[in-house]
């Protein structure tokens, strides 16, 4: 069945209540068979309950439109890592505690492990893979600051910290060290590299202000 037809069929099955509609993009869908949710039902084989969310979503990830088959109970971190191959977003705890999965939704840091992909339709998702300028290859000031300061040790936390820093600088490009510490307090670094991470944040702020 054609994708668009499927979606229309689904829409018809939805009751008259006003439910959020997935943005329907024309074109081929991303692989609807991810690593994560292959076992159960393939797309649309499962009869949807009245009014339930449709599974085919179009997400804006790092400036690109990506079509994905997303199960209702799938978290954004899982979609990114297992459906879209964006493994830069890490799962440190999967419980909104460590911050390794931090991504930006419309520029604001969120824990990717603790939000359903279905909850963020229409919002722009930025992951660590999206920081570098895709055309020029130029690093984001935050990334440059990491290189300048030799930031991070094991760096499993690094993508999350970088995303939080980007979000922080968007809101406050001239933080004090203390403000930066507060802004970054939702990310854990088990290597205890907080000193260098704060140096990096301050350096990044400098670079951002220079741009």
């Amino acid at each position: 069945m054609d994708e668009v037809d499927i979606t229309r069929a689904l829409e018809r099955s939805v009751s008259r209540r006003t439910f959020i509609k997935g943005v329907i993009a024309v074109g081929a869908t991303a692989s609807s068979v991810g690593y994560l949710f292959r076992g159960g039902t393939p797309l649309l084989a499962m009869p949807a309950a009245q009014g339930t969310a449709e599974r085919l979503l179009t997400l804006t990830v790092n400036g690109q439109l990506r079509r994905v088959d997303v199960l209702p109970h799938e978290t954004l971190a899982m979609t990114l890592r297992y459906k879209l191959g964006l493994t830069g977003t890490k799962l440190g705890c999967d419980r909104a505690e460590c911050g390794a999965c931090t991504v930006l939704l419309d520029g604001v840091p969120h824990y990717g492990c603790s939000i359903l992909t279905h909850q963020i339709r229409g919002r722009a998702i930025t992951t660590i893979e999206g920081l570098q300028n895709p055309d020029t290859g130029a690093l984001h000031p935050v990334q440059q600051a990491v290189l300048d300061e030799g930031g991070f040790q094991c760096a499993f936390c690094a993508p999350g910290f970088c995303m939080t820093m980007v979000g922080m600088l968007e809101e406050n490009p001239d933080p004090t060290r203390e403000e930066a510490a507060h802004a970054l307090s939702g990310n854990l670094c088990r290597c205890g590299d907080y000193h260098k991470i704060l140096n990096t944040a301050m350096r990044a702020a400098q670079l951002v202000r220079r741009v």
Binding site: R17, F19, H73, G99, V108, P109, H110, S114, G186
Partner: protein, 332 residues
Amino acid sequence: MAIIRDMIPAFDLFQPASVEDALALLAEHGEDAWVLAGGLDTFDWLKDRIKRPKAVVDLSGVEELTGIRDTGAGIEIGAMTPLSRVVGDPRVRADFALLREAAEHVATPQIRNQGTLGGNLSQDTRCWYYRSGWPCYRAGGNTCYASAPKAMNREHCILGRSRCVAVSPSDTAPALIALGARMVVRRAGSESIHEAQDFFIGPATDIQRMTVLRAGDLLTAVRIPEDWAGARHYYEKVRDRGSWDFALVSVAAAFRMDGDTIGDARIAVNGVAPFPVRLDSVERMVVGHAPDEALATEAGELAVAGARPLRHNDYKVPLMRNLVRRAIRSVA
């Protein structure tokens, strides 16, 4: 009960775009429905596979539940308003700084970006026995594991216990009580308004709920009247870590001064009982007096009168006493 605590089991996801539709869905699915706001409490339960709702009603698309507006007689904050928006709101900042401070003490920046005011108020307790899926009273079983003679209960209650000894985890709750807020609760076909302190219920009333909300109910908004706008206030949360930690004890207080004496006061404490505790008797005692050290001491002692600590949380008695003292001292 180790076995497995991973991967959310399947559910049907409903994403209403209006409160009416949300209420209709909740009415339709009754006990099988689960309200999803910011999800920070929800996903723990689901990933741990302990609570298994059939239908999840996601409120993220209900725009009318988000936002802060001036009602003329105060402000109304939509239940789905993210905590960071509450923190950043100029009106809250100017007139209800107590709420701003409390909201700022919630967990982490990311959680404040995602977590909602309604969710912070309605979240379930963090008792680790209950959260481990043990069949305690709160989970429908016939015992409390946390108050057993050798149980680990440093974070449990010293007041208000009734079979269950868990504590309310909300940081914003005591602030809203101190500000005299009212909670707007709707269900299909009706609306009710609750004083903040009555919104939270103890195990004596219903051991399986933390708030008045029953299946089918939706907390839609919090109204803060002008009464305490611009009042002097005190907020303090004592926790083990500087972020991502619940209060061991927290205090929120609002004061109106009458010259050198306290003209009016509202004081609430959390982390000490299964519900945020409003200290009416302390309020009555301090009004009309100068907030000197003697009054602060007396207030602290009165606040903890009747406290019954468990094996590992005796420290909460002096901690609560001292925080109430500090609150009184703050207006000296």
